[in-house]
Symmetry: C2
Subunit: 166 residues, 2 copies
Amino acid sequence: MGNELNCSMFRAMDVLGDRWTLMVLREAFMGVRRFTEMQRDLGIARNVLTDRLNFLVETGVLERRQYQDRPVRHEYRLTDMGRELQPALLTLMHWGDTYLSPDGAPALMEHTDCGHVTSPLLVCEHCREPLTTRNVRLTPGPSYCEGEDPAADRAAAREHDRATAA
Amino acid sequence: MGNELNCSMFRAMDVLGDRWTLMVLREAFMGVRRFTEMQRDLGIARNVLTDRLNFLVETGVLERRQYQDRPVRHEYRLTDMGRELQPALLTLMHWGDTYLSPDGAPALMEHTDCGHVTSPLLVCEHCREPLTTRNVRLTPGPSYCEGEDPAADRAAAREHDRATAA
């Protein structure tokens, strides 16, 4: 298996890897839609919030909708793409709860359909059995390109370094 | 629901948010254990690789084991904590495949137990039904602390900015 196989993971992390972006996204998942409410909750500078909202709209995670005419006001809602980040965010949260929260989880996940406080379990969409490090194999997909991407990965990592240092 | 509920997610992202760290972790998941092999695969500077390996060992994601006496040589293996990052990495990869890879997935996930090329599905560990944005509710957990953490979140975000700009 080539080391270029998982670059979708890097692309995903480029969206989520910034802490302010993640805080804005968390607001969206909590149902907060308006700039002023996000600003009040997060206590961040207007230009930082504007920047992160624009980034999430450009990426396709949020959509901007006008909800008022005079004066013009917009709200921000999760798109399907945004909502489908939930599994990644819940699994990250669960891992952090398990290994990085020595005083116990800050939040519990309740599955309201069955009423249990639960933990997320990752299963195969076909047989519904758990996926583990022993039973998942990654194989080349449609956009696999051996020998090309490792260099691209390195270049992207350097670019990422530059961008985060800017 | 307070906006401080999910800080485990931030703690998790502090581990994964650096691209080189993620590249080293990817090597570990592919079974690459030795410094020289990682360096050859990734083409990164020795000091950068050393830095990221030390970070992952300190965090508890990797363990360092001596495999040779003269000269002394170590290898790096995923701990249980490290292996349990798999659900987060697979869901991130799947999201990136779906939304950020217009030419198709670079890699396909095969569930070797049932033999299907699959997608990861997040379910409730109790009833095994899918978790969605409509049926998961976050409630305060043991280390929930209303009114305290939003400021801590902001301070941590600023600290994160400083660290990534360093």
